[in-house]
Symmetry: C2
Amino acid sequence: MNKNISDIARMAGVAKSTVSRYLNGGSVSAKTKQKLERITREAGYVPNTFAQSLKAKRNNLIGTIVPRLDSFAAAQTMTGIDEELREAGGRMLVYNAGQDRTRELEAMTDLARQKVSGIILMPAQVTEEHLRTAEAAGIPVLLIGQSNPALHSLVYDDYRAGLLMGRHVLDMGHRRIAYLGVTEEDEAVGLRRKEGFRAAAQECEDCEIFYYESSFKIEDARLAAERILDECLPSLIVCATDNIALGVMKTAHMRGLSVPSELSITGFGGYEVTGIIHPALTTVRFPYYEAGRLAARSMLRLTAGEEVKRLTVIDVELLPQESVDNLNTASV
Amino acid sequence: MNKNISDIARMAGVAKSTVSRYLNGGSVSAKTKQKLERITREAGYVPNTFAQSLKAKRNNLIGTIVPRLDSFAAAQTMTGIDEELREAGGRMLVYNAGQDRTRELEAMTDLARQKVSGIILMPAQVTEEHLRTAEAAGIPVLLIGQSNPALHSLVYDDYRAGLLMGRHVLDMGHRRIAYLGVTEEDEAVGLRRKEGFRAAAQECEDCEIFYYESSFKIEDARLAAERILDECLPSLIVCATDNIALGVMKTAHMRGLSVPSELSITGFGGYEVTGIIHPALTTVRFPYYEAGRLAARSMLRLTAGEEVKRLTVIDVELLPQESVDNLNTASV
DNA sequence: CATTCTTTTGGAACCGGTTCCTATTTTTAA
DNA sequence: TTAAAAATAGGAACCGGTTCCAAAAGAATG
């Protein structure tokens, strides 16, 4: 049923090289061009991509490895990558690493086997093994969210995010604050975000900060919040991600604490849900979608052998909403 | 740098057919097997998947077309598909249709070109053109969420979902109810869900139901809720999706209406966020993840030429939470 | 009209595997 | 020890394209 290039050549009474040239815009006379136009259309001819890729030794696929499919950040980033690639005729092959480092490495190897043109990776941390695997893959690898001098990276300005948030909550009059972070192994979220916040705190003499740690899971955050409220009763909890903030908010509701009048809460990320819940969550917006587009654009340039800046820092934006009480006016 | 099968054959002093046989478990003597084991390992040899697919005329890719990447349902379904395929050595190629029917059709054609083994589609509606395109693709196409006699389909029991929800809210004593649905062009969400609900309403004589329509967007739902509250002031709004319910909840908060004591709200879907927000949203859980797994399993059987039931109905489950007031006890 | 330069075309080789068929070697049975 | 059977290996064709090179055809020039 499906015709191949030889069939078409035979039907048109020409050599298959002529058909190939016709399809790829080579020099073909107007007459044969017309004939081939008609015949390929009538036969519904579609070139076999395997055969094309076999000869070309490359395809238009970009592998994207995400830590999980059901996260706002991953979804937005993927959407951005997908749209940018599509406009350039490329395609996105998604791999879900399920937040498992081994699967992340396997995914890279596997994508290299499939001979994708490049890999966009959203890792939680970059290990020596990541570098070795990327090296072995022999194709461009671009990181989003984490950076490494050995690879091309696209990072958010996590330090500034922490700084902005810190200054904002201090401005609002909060002095007794809990910071609920994540493991420092995650350099971006765990370390730099916290350091930015700490820097803001150090600009203010009379504030007390309590540092806590949780996982990225909402349920773990909920439990951590229980501990925080039992131990130090802050006026505000700064959470390292919006999801963590949701967990903390849940705890507040369960304890009957009113947000923000009895407990203020902030997040990081700018997830859609932060604007929908009540009270809307004060957070720092990370432009995931734009980062995805930018990543795809950079990757296309890399696969074309063009130069790309090794490290790009993406700006973030404070998004003050309702979940932070203004203690200045309250005391007036 | 990268070796091909001929290189390996030369290095081992055998014919490439022998190498191929070694790789694919054909009859090879213990001695050559050992030798090839060593050589392929040392050379880091990896077969070229294009060449394999070219000969085999098929690959292990399953195309998945989702309406959008950033929806809970899509994310869960993709995760299910991905995990099931991975266990069977298959891979998922994701296409984002961006809620655009034209792009959905293009995606099918495009996937067929890439010679994926099968397509899993999550359409908002199935048109004649979908059928034609699927037919032309010449590979198995499986629908999730919508059904069509011409294709293999996996649907949720939307009618029962509506029925369960209807009975539940009536049980809770609500009699003046608004149903905020979506277009009936969406047979599953727009039509059957509503019909189930209507059937439940008809089991009760003294209830008044007001039907409204919105899009799937939270913001549109928010606006629709404004209209509903202005026009008929029900004790409860049944929303056709959890996202719509979130929009309605937003309006309630903005108007200072307490949920559920002044306005009860329900959704459909069982999105993660429904359990996190306060009050937690009463909804019907749709097992998206399991559906994804099931879809992948069915697709693998289809590509293997095995028989698969044409229509599978997936059961749903009522998830009563806090957003529905019990008017029975209230009046006691 | 002959000659030269361009444009168009066909043929063959190639990309990197798999598979079929035949030849050779090894094993088993007689 | 030899014949028959079984296991192993090699060679060639094939999958469906692209590309290089040489031949043929057409256009331009003197």
